[in-house]
Structure formats: structure tokens, C-alpha cells
Symmetry: D2
Subunit: 354 residues, 4 copies
Amino acid sequence: MDKLRAALLGATGMVGQRFVKLLTGHRMFELTVLAASPRSAGKRYREAAHWCVEGDVPEEVADLRVVRVGLEEVRREDEVDVVFSAIPSELAREIEPEFARAGIPVISDASAFRMEEDVPILIGEVNPDHLKLVKLQARRGWRSFIVTSPNCTTNELMIALKPLMDRFGIRRVIVSTMQALSGAGWTGVPSMAIADNVIPYIRNEEEKVEREALKILGRFDGSRIVPAELEISASCHRVNVLEGHLEAVFVELSRGADVEEVKEAMRKFRGRPQELGLPTAPENPIIVREEEDRPQPRLDRYAGGGMSIVVGRVRRDKVLENGVKFLVLGHNTIRGAAGNAILNAELAVSEGYI
Amino acid sequence: MDKLRAALLGATGMVGQRFVKLLTGHRMFELTVLAASPRSAGKRYREAAHWCVEGDVPEEVADLRVVRVGLEEVRREDEVDVVFSAIPSELAREIEPEFARAGIPVISDASAFRMEEDVPILIGEVNPDHLKLVKLQARRGWRSFIVTSPNCTTNELMIALKPLMDRFGIRRVIVSTMQALSGAGWTGVPSMAIADNVIPYIRNEEEKVEREALKILGRFDGSRIVPAELEISASCHRVNVLEGHLEAVFVELSRGADVEEVKEAMRKFRGRPQELGLPTAPENPIIVREEEDRPQPRLDRYAGGGMSIVVGRVRRDKVLENGVKFLVLGHNTIRGAAGNAILNAELAVSEGYI
Amino acid sequence: MDKLRAALLGATGMVGQRFVKLLTGHRMFELTVLAASPRSAGKRYREAAHWCVEGDVPEEVADLRVVRVGLEEVRREDEVDVVFSAIPSELAREIEPEFARAGIPVISDASAFRMEEDVPILIGEVNPDHLKLVKLQARRGWRSFIVTSPNCTTNELMIALKPLMDRFGIRRVIVSTMQALSGAGWTGVPSMAIADNVIPYIRNEEEKVEREALKILGRFDGSRIVPAELEISASCHRVNVLEGHLEAVFVELSRGADVEEVKEAMRKFRGRPQELGLPTAPENPIIVREEEDRPQPRLDRYAGGGMSIVVGRVRRDKVLENGVKFLVLGHNTIRGAAGNAILNAELAVSEGYI
Amino acid sequence: MDKLRAALLGATGMVGQRFVKLLTGHRMFELTVLAASPRSAGKRYREAAHWCVEGDVPEEVADLRVVRVGLEEVRREDEVDVVFSAIPSELAREIEPEFARAGIPVISDASAFRMEEDVPILIGEVNPDHLKLVKLQARRGWRSFIVTSPNCTTNELMIALKPLMDRFGIRRVIVSTMQALSGAGWTGVPSMAIADNVIPYIRNEEEKVEREALKILGRFDGSRIVPAELEISASCHRVNVLEGHLEAVFVELSRGADVEEVKEAMRKFRGRPQELGLPTAPENPIIVREEEDRPQPRLDRYAGGGMSIVVGRVRRDKVLENGVKFLVLGHNTIRGAAGNAILNAELAVSEGYI
């Protein structure tokens, strides 16, 4: 099949660079337009991006001329079939609808529309049927739609919880995070702030996790998402790690389960992306490790190309009823951002939405 | 009063060095004997210790000749009134009773005797009456006694929970830790292991926290400690921080309390060491900060000379009944080790046990 | 004597905070005005400064109301006797002369006027007689004067070289630096940039070192500074260390000297501040260590309260004629900035310039 | 051609793991025997190695049974054609000759035999003709030979200097290093030692650089290596970086050269491995970057698969006659160890020595 032509909004940032890397040589999509802030516009991508992911700027896009973020600017470059968005939320609120209205589907990593009733927060393996929600966006007078990805911290937690919810039911979740620096962007955390330190606060993060989870794990009843009936509490902290969010999770299941059952449920877990064989789908969405000291961010973040989450130290928790506790790690800018969005786009294509 | 003459076992290690620093110029105790492993024995302290705490080796002890750890070796140097112990647990099991039997009280940081029925795990502010337990050690045929300090991770958690238990009652506690490197000793964590990483496992740590807590918060009924009736679950992790254990704590209180009440209970908390005006007692055992991003290990670990714990981000937890969540930080080798032991010794002297 | 009343320009930045800390309880100066950017103006210092040096904001200044940087703004608060300046260079170029013109001496850490012919770059121990240069500033129509401090990297190098120049003569110097993060200010180096990394470039740093050195080590002939006749080449690099610049120095002396002579020259070195017993003068400007692995930034940066430099590993260099090589460490925001400036002010007072 | 069968001595260490990774799927060699310390012997490689390089243990060797380091032990497993050695130097001194005597060529990373008159310190691109030296080892009564690789710090410096020596001549070299943690092995540098710190000393490192360089850059006159007639002085320091040694180099050339000529000489530099198209030879031994802040260890260490060195900031040095200064970075366990040894083996095969 001919590749779909894609634009990337926010191409020079850290998540933007991940998009570029993951879309290079992609068999469904071809990046034909790179858009960024006015400061970058007019420069070749090679000069505009302060490249900071592994390797060098991919040759395919290195000489593309960056345009400003905007419908007209993108259109002037190419008639794209899809838009990937990695722009700040305030800007996304204004810009993304322009594309949807004009008939160009928006696959977004921004938080702007996540909590809108007719917009899915999509994780291919967890709630693929929420994609149906986009049809309701026609009521807005849009010819196409917006699909969002969850916050990076929420993402890996949802994947870990999904098989437990399906098999045992979940009543309560307590999660304490140790999050990587890249989640705050290149200049987000000064080195003076984090060297020999932990910062026990990430603005809005706990609220996002608690709010998004109920929607993602909710049920689409044909007209709306009925939120999941579990309770979730988060405490979010920044540690001195480049990439990979680690989370200590305590879960109260609806029914008793022994540790081996829990691990098996996770190991066997497959979702719609695996069924469809989507290009970015990892073979195993969840890798369960048996070592006593894993997962570790530096050693495990690239599991499954950064698209698998890694669970370890699954053990009983005796404080919660039917309690189980474990650690989960995900690559926050791949699985937790660009990779998840690309998987969403692949799913939307395969399911006929794009 | 004349100072009591003290020996220090394990004088060259990291906790040993903290003891040396805190006991320099102490108004109750004078370090007259420094004991360490055979490798160090015979050297001057200045040469034997690879000094790694702030400043230089205190002049008062720099030229003391280090002896081997052992009753005879210590006695050959001086008739000491008290022994501080910072030796490995296996060695402590063998050596500490020799001193107690010989009539020399042992104030220990080792874990060897913590769970013995007639040995207190003492935190001056939390369970000072447990000191009475040492009288039962006479049954062992000992002329003196052993007092232990809790594990560093347990210590700060106990101090934070004590005022909540007293005022509101506690049913359940979930704690997720971000622990400093010094807790593992100078060579405990290779730099290759922790750079750009978190290690989500510390051997025996979760068990220690869960076990020691119930004893420390328990009630001495005249003949034994009746364990506290709360439930506690821990997940322990090592982060790239030199000193200062940070813990995310989720608590289910026995009765509802609003956040301000919880903070006030913590702020007003004072214990026996404060009443007695003990030299190492911090003015405020608990400092509650209001900033949204504190406590931070690097900025807060030296609060109260390293003897105060610092609590922050006290907020409601909606998952647990009457739930509250917060962060707590303590200096793991001062409050969590040497400082707590010295405070124990001061308490034992003031209460007439030494 | 009554304390001199002092204003501090740039009070909220990292160097500004060091000034505040060092001037608290100072026996010559009292901080009565704190000035900072418009963003901070009007707030109490406690709120305006994102306090990041050890301990808490000193109570003496915590509630001072911050004013905008400017002559009128400062004067409206108090008739100060001296102004300390820790503002950015472009701003300094404009603001500092206003104070000098108005008769208020300016003790500056900014680079703006360093290379002006009639302005000294002053290090109390190295070139105290350069202070005479300020009299020439009367030609500008100023009623008072500006004194500058060198760049932090230059500072410690100059102190280390001074006794060698005096005793053996110096022909050539090659220096390779490993500089701390604080040198770039709180937000200067993103954590993503420096974690698991070294950045082998610091803008303008090599030029500053090479240029300032010749002036500082030069001779005041009554009308101008005759630059020193040595050659110096620097390569400057940023490493993942909070405070303390470490420099590897290779020196070609004018005559042969053995390593012990070099160390003795450094150890015996005392300057005018030591003669005068100035409050901020360290007892030993240079501490020479004999261990094979010192100086180390974390262990040695607070030597002499951060005002001593620490030299180690003095050894022969066989590539340069009469060659010697060693390492030197200085606290870049104390000796290398605020502390040096305060010492300059003390010298100016003692010598009758203020 | 059939692959040569290879044994690896020291297979579980960090350099050993690099060998394993680089030899997996190699077109000339097949690892059939993995040898390590008695502690590992008998275990499957998967269990014996605490795997710490990227990705997982390669499946090809994961289940190989590890044997003890020793000629008999290796032979009992397989009749190997070549032995790679990554064992400690003292052990190498004893073990490596046994293999050479028995007719099995030893490609070693150990320092034991580097300075022996009849043993080459070989870098394929720099001194391929030194390989001829191995014929002299027959005098020892050996049926085969030992080839060594230089110390990792020496290696990248030699590659950077070679084209300058060939084209301009070199008189003097001063080098100041910022070396990675992996150079000291997994447990070599405790995290407590290096966090927020630099350690300005690496045992024997400066001596090795200074000594090995003259031999490597020397000339084989048919019977011996005539040492190069340049002078070299090193100052070696450990920084908090996982992999990649960065070196600041100051060079006095024999004749004047402008910066562009120097960069061109480096860029055009190719060696015998490139001529022969050896599998591990990087296309460009030296990559010269033009950005003002490169090379950086984290961003550049994997250039050319870790086999290219990266040079940056080439500029004039005005202190040395015909002076030039620059930075050079190399991956210390690939180019600086395992990769260089494998390239040596490839060269020895291609040139008919194996």
C-alpha cells in the first residue's frame, strides 16, 4: 500500500524527536511535514532540532524545511493524511481542532482534549474500542477527529492493570512513582535541582493519573464512556534518571489471586495491536521479570523497542484485601508518548478510521 | 558531671564516622576507645578511617590507636562506661552480649538483637518507656544490657506516625521508599549500578520495616511488648542520592482528620528527649513544610542537625478510609542510625539506666 | 566600629544567595538593601529567593522587602556605604557606574568592567596593590569606584600560581578544567544535558581565563597594569558536580624546582588579607594535600569555609621545561565569587578606600 | 570460509560482556568456549554473567556452560583456533603464555605483556606492521603468540595523534582526561565516591599512557620497536559518566599547521583495517565534529558502533609552538578494549598470522 503522508506538530522537542525516530522507515506513514515554533520555522530540521535521542538525525528528514505550527502552514507544504501532535497543551487546544475540522485526523500526545467526553484516551492494548468514540466528534462539525494518548505515567500503569482487571477485578490502586527527567522536557529540570536529590512533586501529575485512569479503564456503552469503578491514589516524584518511569503499585483485587496467577495474567496479555500485527506493537505488551532487583530504568527501558512495559517483584500485599504489589517500568517518551500515539494511528488505519 | 567514657565498635565505617562526628565535644560522653576490624587495628584513626563525612577527622580522636573489636581489646585500652556499636549484624550477635554480660551497656545500631523479646528498639520520641524492657535482660545472666535502634527506613516512619497514632489512631500504612546510597555503606552500591538508574530492591528492608514497626509502636505491659495492631506494607527502592531517605506514605487513620489537624499534630509533637532537654534531641522532632515540592533530600536532610525528620505534601488520600498521604524525609545515617543511638544513650543516662 | 551599610544587587540568584549567607553576622557589613529583578521586587526576600544553598534563609534578611536593581530604588531604602553586585554583565555595565558616579563604591562579581584599564580585577592574596588603580577612576568623573573579582575559574588558578611566580617565575601554563554546575546558575545546565555526560565547552570561559590572568598577575607601575609575561592556554569543561571547580594545571617554571619546594611555596603562601586579619580571609589561602586522590570537589570544596583553595598531586611534568603539574580546586561561588568580593570589600575598608 | 573457533577468557566481566556482544554473529569467529573465575565455572553463561551491557544476553551463548580459565579447561571443551583474553593482568601473566606455547594465538586486552619487547601493542589503524613482532616470540619457544591492545585511554589518543604525526610531526603532547566509570569495572568505583564528585586519580593510568604511546607510535626496524621521539604528559581523572573517555589534548606539532589542515588530516585518515574491509573496522576511524560543544560522552560514544573516535573543538594553542588543542572521545570498552582486540584478531587473520 502507498504510505500515508503525515505531518508532525512539535517536531523539534524531545517527544517530537522520538516521533521522528520511530516514523523513520515506518511502513504505513511517511513524514512529509515537520512543524515547530516560529523560532525553528524556516530552518532545516537538522539545524532546528537540538537532537538528543540516540544516534544522529535521520537522513530522510534532516534537510526538511521546518514550518510553523498551523493548518495553513502545513497545507502549504503537503496534503497530509494524518497529523501527529506533540505540542504544548494550550497550543493544542487551539490548533488541533483546526485540523480535525478540515478533515485531517489528529493523533495527539497533548493533554488538551483528553478529558473531553467524545475524545478517547487510547491505548491500543487496553481500550481499542474507545476508538469508536471519535464518531461522536462529528457533532462538533468536524470532518475528522482527535485521538489522544494518556499521560506517560498513566500509560504504563493502565497496561499493567488491564489484565488484572479483566481476570480478577480491581477495587483500589495506590501508586508511588519514580519518574525520569525527560518527562519534563529538555530544560524542564535544572541539573542543580536534581543532582544528589529527588523532587517529590510533579505539577498536575497525580491528578492526571487519577482522572485519566478511570476513563481509560471505563466501558464505552455506545454513547459515552462509563468510568471504571475503582479508586486510585498517586504520589508522583522525580528522580535522577534520563528515561523510564518506575512505579511502585499496590492493588486491591476484587477476588483473591496468588502471585503466580497474577504474573501469568500479565505474561499472557495480548491486545488488539498484537492480533492485528501492527508495526509498532511489541510482541509482549508486558514482560514479567523474575529477578529480585528488576525492572531497572537503565537496563529495561528499551524492552520491546521501548514499547513493552516491564513488571517485576510481583508479591502479595497483606495490607489491602486480596492485595498484590509490584513494580512497573515503561519508557516514558516511547511507550508513554510518541510510540503509543503511533500505535494509535496504526490502529485507526487498520480499523478503517483513517 | 564527669563525662562517661565510651568505646565505639565499628569506628571506621560510615555510621562509625557519624558516631565519631556527633560524639566530638559531646557533653555527656567521651570517646576513649575506637575499635574496628583487624585490618584497621594498630593504625591511628586518621589512617584507618577513609574519612567521608563533612570536614576532616576530628582532632580529638585523629591519633587514637584503633583496636580490634572485642571485650578484652577494649578493656585493655580503658574501663569504659558504655559501648556504641556500629558493627555488622553477624558480628554483633557474638560480640555485643560479651559487653552486656561484663556489665557494660551496649547502645547498638546493629539489627542482631532488635527482635529479641527483652530488647527494645528504641526511639527516644516514640517509645521511651520500652527502655524498661532492659531490666528483663538480667534473666540472661547479664550485668548490663543491650538497647537497639531501628532500621533507618523504619525510624523516620515511626516518628512521623507516632503523633497520628496518638491522636487519630492508625489502621493501615502503605509506604514506598526512595533510599539513599549511604544506607548500603561506602562500597554497597557500585556507581555503574545506579548511574542513570533506580534499583527497586533492598535486601530484607521491607521485612525489617514491617516487623520492627509493630514492635516499636507496641505497648509495654510490664512484662512484654504487645505489638501494635496496625498493618503495614512497604516497597523499598534505592535512588541516586548520597544521604537522606525519602518515603511516600499512605495512611488509613482510625477516625477522620482533616489535613490541617494532621499537620498540627505533627508540628506540636514533642517527646521525652525534648522534655529532658537531651543534648542530641532536636527542638522539633518533626518539621512540616508547606512548599509544594518539599522535603527534598539534598535540601532538607540536615534539618535539626540531621535529627529532625521533615514532612511535606500532607494531603487527603481518597482510596483509604480516613486516608491521608504525605512525604517524609530523614537523614539515614544521623537520625536513622548514629544520632538515634546517641539519643538513646542520653536517655538511658538521664533515666538512670547508665 | 559601626557596621557599614550595604546593598546587594542580584540578591536572589545563586551568587546572590552566597553573598547573603556570607554577610549574615559579618562584623564589618550589614545588608540593609536587597535588590533583584522586577519579578522579585516587592516580595519579601524569603519568597523572592528560591533558596538553594545550605540551611534556610537567614532570619536577619528573610523579611526584607526586595527592591528593583537601580540607584534610585536602592537609595529610597537606605543610604548605603557600599554596594555588592552579582548581576548579569550587560546590566552591570549600565547600573554599576551609576553607583560609582554617585559616590557609592561597587564591589562587583560581574565581568562587565574587568578588562577596563582603570578597574582592578582583585584577589586579596594575589594583587592587593592593584586596588590603587581605582584612584584613576576619578578621571571618569566618578566620586567612588568599581572593583571587580575574576571569573571563578581564573580565581583559584591565580592563587595557586602566585607563590610559584614569586619564587620560581612562570613561563607557560596549560590548564584543563572540570567545572561545577553552579557556575552556570540555577537553570544554566539542564539535567538532561549533563546526566551521564560531560559538556566540553563553556561559552567565553577559556578567553576569560587567558585574558584575566595576565592582568591579575601583572604589575601596577603607578599609572597602569603591565601585563604579566607568561603564556596561558585553557580548555574548559562542565562535569556533573554541584559546586567546586577542579583544574588540572601544567606549569613551565622559569627555573628548576623540585616538587617539595613547590609544595612548600604554596603552603607558606600568605597574602595581605592574612596580614590584616580580614574576617573572610582563610588562615591558609592554599591547602596542599598529600593523598594520591585529592582534591575532590565534594570533599574539599568547603576547606577554609570555602575560601581556601586545595592543591594536590603536585608532581614533575617532564614535557615542559622545569615542568610541574598539579590539581587545584576552589569553591566557585564562594572563593570564586561572593567570598572573593567580600574579601575585596574588607581589604578596601582596611586600606582606607571605603 | 568456516568460522574460526574462539575461546573467551574473562567472559563474565564488563569487557568480557562487550566481547560477547561484539562476537555474536561475527562472520570470522564463533565463540565456543567461555571461561571465567571458579565462582562462575559450571554455571550457564546466562546465570554466571551479571549482564550489564545493552539488551539481553545473546541467545547464541546464553546456555553455554562456563569453564574455569585455563588451558586444559578450555581444551576439554573445544579445539579453539584463537583465544580472546579479558582477564586481570596478574592472571594473564601466568595463563596467556600457556596458550601461546600450546600453539593457540592469544588476542589480549590485559596489560601483562604490553611492554615486553617482542609483543606488539596493536591498533589496526595506527601500527599494523607491529604485528610482525610476534614472529620474534618463537624465541620464547612458543608455537603461537600474544598480541595486546593498549590501555583504553592510550588507544583513542593514539588514533587521534597518528594522522598528525604522519603529516606534521609531533614534538610534545599534554593530555588531561575525564574518564568513565566502566574503565574501573562494575564494582571499581563506589557510587558514594563519585556522586557529586570527580576523583582526580586513576592508579597507574598516567604511567601507562606515557609509556605505551612511545611504543605504539614507534617504528619497527625489523628486529625491535624504536620508540617514537615525542614527549607526552598525562593527568588522569574519573568523572561520573558510564561509558566514554573524554580527553583534552594539547599538541606541539613539528611544523606549523592551520586548524583546517589538522581537521582534514584527521577526517581523511584511514588505516589497514579500512583497506582490508575488516568486519569491525569503522568506516571512519576519526569523526571530526564542528559543533562548539562536542564530543560529549553520552551522545557520541556509539559513533561507528563504538569503534570510531570523535574529535571536536580543534583550535590553535598559542602556548605550545605550532600548537593545536582539541577534545577526543572514544568508547572505552569497545574501541578502548574488546572492539580493538577483535579488530586485531581480524587483522591477524587477514594478514595470515592466524
